[in-house]
């Protein structure tokens, strides 16, 4: 089966020829003016990068159809619709690196994590919200009776005191209620963790408001499998994502590994399981803006172990309690 001349030129233009064939083809080009003419024409065509046609599309109608198909279920939670608007946008935009701020419905404002250097979001009452990576918040208009927001992901709140207007946060299946305080709220899938930095906070399950915990500074609680539980010893590193400061003091190895792993978003394995039962780490100084390798070396050294990195995953090898 003979190859057509166009197919052959096409293969040359597409870079599908090996060196030897290419040389042969170039040689032929130089000696065959007819082939050269044809080639030059095709080369011009080839070099024009095609543009997609710019047609008109009815995005409003398409959106209505999309809504019907994807959000058809009746929404049990109030304002779910606005979250739907927000969430699809958020999920796409959050990590794109650009700063986004836009209106979803005329009633609520949505803020998304922009970048590590961005400042806190200031709410209409002067309260501040620091969003962690990949997080977003919907702020409903504050009324005379209350202040309400919805959080997805993690944020640190500094809520200005206003006893007349409680401040509530919907997050996962929980509702957190405060008057004036600072605290961290983190949602990972169906789990929600609350850490209170100052003041007092009421932590409730969203489906069953009978279940509630009252927390004060230094206390933490989490919501999992429809249950609220106090965290016995909250990690000193709960706010590390915001303060950029990690501490190892008085942490057991598993706790230290958990915090370091969360902070850097890396996988860390401890090979020698005996180390998990060792005493606490005695390194006292906090690490300001730490490097993962530095921290792991310090941890490993306290157990005479070694750190090995492979493909971005870290393993702590060997070591003993001592």
């Amino acid at each position: 089966m003979k190859e057509s001349i166009e197919a052959r030129i096409g293969r040359y233009l597409a870079g599908e020829m090996d060196e030897q064939e290419k040389a042969g083809f170039q040689n032929e080009l130089a000696t065959n003016p007819a082939l050269e003419t044809a080639y030059l024409g095709y080369q011009r065509i080839w070099q024009m990068k095609p543009n997609a046609p710019a047609d008109q599309w009815d995005q409003e109608l398409a959106w209505v159809n999309f809504e019907k198909k994807n959000f058809a279920a009746p929404s049990p939670l109030k304002a779910k619709r606005s979250v739907a608007y927000w969430a699809i946008a958020a999920s796409l935009v959050i990590l794109s690196g650009a700063t986004f701020y836009f209106l979803t419905l005329p009633t609520a404002k949505t803020y998304l994590y922009a970048d590590a250097g961005s400042s806190a979001i200031e709410l209409p009452d002067g309260s501040k919200v620091h969003l962690n990576k990949g997080s977003g918040i919907v702020v409903f208009p504050f009324t005379r009776k209350g202040r309400h927001v919805e959080l997805s992901g993690e944020a640190f709140f500094e809520v200005n005191s206003d006893t007349q207007r409680p401040f509530t946060i919907d997050c996962g299946h929980t509702i957190t209620e405060v008057v004036g305080t600072s605290f961290d709220l983190r949602q990972v899938k169906d789990e929600v963790l609350l850490f209170v930095n100052s003041g007092k906070v009421i932590f409730r399950s969203g489906d069953n408001s009978q279940t509630a915990l009252a927390l004060t500074a230094g206390e933490a609680a989490y919501f999992e499998n429809d249950k609220l539980k106090m965290v016995a010893n909250p990690s000193p590193n709960t706010l590390a994502w915001k303060t950029k400061e990690l501490q190892l003091k008085d942490l057991s190895l598993p706790d230290a590994i958990r915090d370091v792993s969360t902070y850097f978003g890396v996988i860390i394995t401890v090979e020698n399981k005996d180390l998990n039962a060792c005493g606490k780490i005695h390194s006292t100084l906090p690490f300001k803006d730490p490097q993962v390798r530095t921290i792991l070396d310090v941890i490993a050294r306290s157990f005479n172990a070694l750190v090995v990195e492979k493909d971005g995953k870290y393993t702590i090898k060997g070591g003993s309690c001592n």
Partner: protein
């Protein structure tokens, strides 16, 4: 988000499909998939670039899975031309902008398979092997379709030669 990028996504898909109804179906499915996966998404490029890439992938999957495209019954390659027909130098005299416009139009008139393969090569910069793998056809078929596309495009642009088959 949906509203902002819907048109761009549709234009990308329609470049391949040339069928408004099917294009909107594929676009709807794509946005629904995005919506379902919203919690697992990490976008490292720009949003439009990501959506464009996804639109192309969905379109190619659609083409691959669609019965409408019967890649098996492929016409034999163009009759074995060994000697290029010497044409007057029309092609080289066309202005850049004019040629671009003509080619964009001519691409839309290419037979379906021809257009798909040509766009995959030029727009997505896929190799013959990649195109073949994505569509479940042979590299030889890709080669023939590219050759055919080039030939038809030239005929269209210069307004010469036989009518496209």
């Amino acid at each position: 988000m949906f509203r902002q990028y819907y048109g761009m996504v549709c234009n990308t898909i329609n470049h391949y499909l040339r069928d408004r109804n099917r294009t909107e179906d594929v676009a709807q499915e794509m946005f629904a998939e995005l919506w379902m996966k919203r919690n697992q998404l990490t976008i490292h490029t720009s949003v439009p670039a990501y959506l464009r890439r996804m639109a192309v992938t969905r379109t190619l999957n659609y083409i691959r899975d669609s019965k409408k495209y019967n890649w098996d019954e492929l016409e034999s390659p163009e009759t074995g031309v060994t000697q290029a027909t010497v044409e007057p130098d029309i092609l080289n005299s066309i202005e850049e902008e004019e040629l671009r416009r003509k080619i964009d139009q001519a691409i839309l008139k290419l037979p379906e398979k021809c257009r798909v393969v040509f766009l995959m090569s030029r727009m997505e910069e896929m190799s013959y092997a990649e195109i073949a793998a994505n569509l479940g056809i042979s590299a030889k078929t890709v080669e023939n379709q590219i050759g055919k596309a080039l030939k038809l495009l030239r005929q269209q642009v210069t307004g010469m030669g036989d009518k496209p088959q």
